[in-house]
Symmetry: C2
Subunit: 127 residues, 2 copies
DNA sequence: ACAAAAATAGGAATAATTCCTATTTAGAAA
DNA sequence: TTTCTAAATAGGAATTATTCCTATTTTTGT
């Protein structure tokens, strides 16, 4: 039986209304600004908790801090490997075939129905 | 004109014959064991150099240190989010359609022709 | 061989995240 | 509605991962 503490709810609430994949540091700063008593340890603990529950998604970055995203609807991510900006995109994979390939070729049993692609954004390409 | 120093070559050589996506720390330990004089700074610098050149791939992890992979042939990765093990798999995406979706929906201009999927492996699923 | 550019070693510094301990809180049950 | 206890928290120390710094060395082109 989970205890949904005030702090956990504040963190989740902020993620629900966020659309820009904030880092733990940004989440910490924002909930503090809104009056939360949450410590940094609490923020990290809850982000891990919520992402293990599958309520939010932890997005690993090529460089820099991880980012977090509330799972509104299933969507994919493409990440600029220069500036670390994360973009959402929708795409219908042939999940049945993807599932088959992964099951046949790896030891992975259970997996996400979205993918991560690495790229470079327009702005960074100019420089 | 790049200078392929002895250290850079040692690091690359090790990655070429590796099939288990080692971390920077593991690469450092192994080349040292083989007699390289490379410092940790040199290992990191060269891993970044090689991955910017597209010769190797830096794989961002959900938790723990990044991993590196020599690009033998294009292949996708599926990562166990519990134990961090990385598996390769081959899969033919409809790259034309994927490209179109990403270009239409995001600011990303140029991107990899492989994807990363998150999952849980058999072993971790048992526990 | 010489100069210039690039790369290195080694360690300090920074960034990101986890861990620790004493205290507080949420929720169940009486 | 008080009490009990597992779960959660605050705050900071510790750890991990990575980058940065500077003096020295090496590589490559001429």
């Amino acid at each position: 039986m989970e205890k949904y503490s005030r702090q956990r709810q504040e963190i989740l609430d902020f993620l629900i209304e966020s659309y820009d994949h904030p880092t733990a540091e940004e989440i910490y700063a924002e909930v503090k600004k809104r009056g939360s008593t949450a410590s940094k340890g609490t923020v990290y603990r809850n982000l891990n908790f919520l992402s293990e529950k599958g309520i939010i998604e932890k997005i690993s970055m090529l460089n820099g801090a991880d980012r977090y995203d509330y799972k509104k609807t299933p969507h994919n991510h493409v990440i600029c490997s220069k500036c670390n900006k994360v973009f959402d995109f929708e795409y219908n994979f042939n999940l049945k075939r993807l599932r088959k390939s992964i099951l046949e070729q790896t030891e992975i049993e259970d997996f996400s129905d979205y993918v991560i692609v690495q790229g470079i954004c327009k702005k960074c390409l100019k420089n």
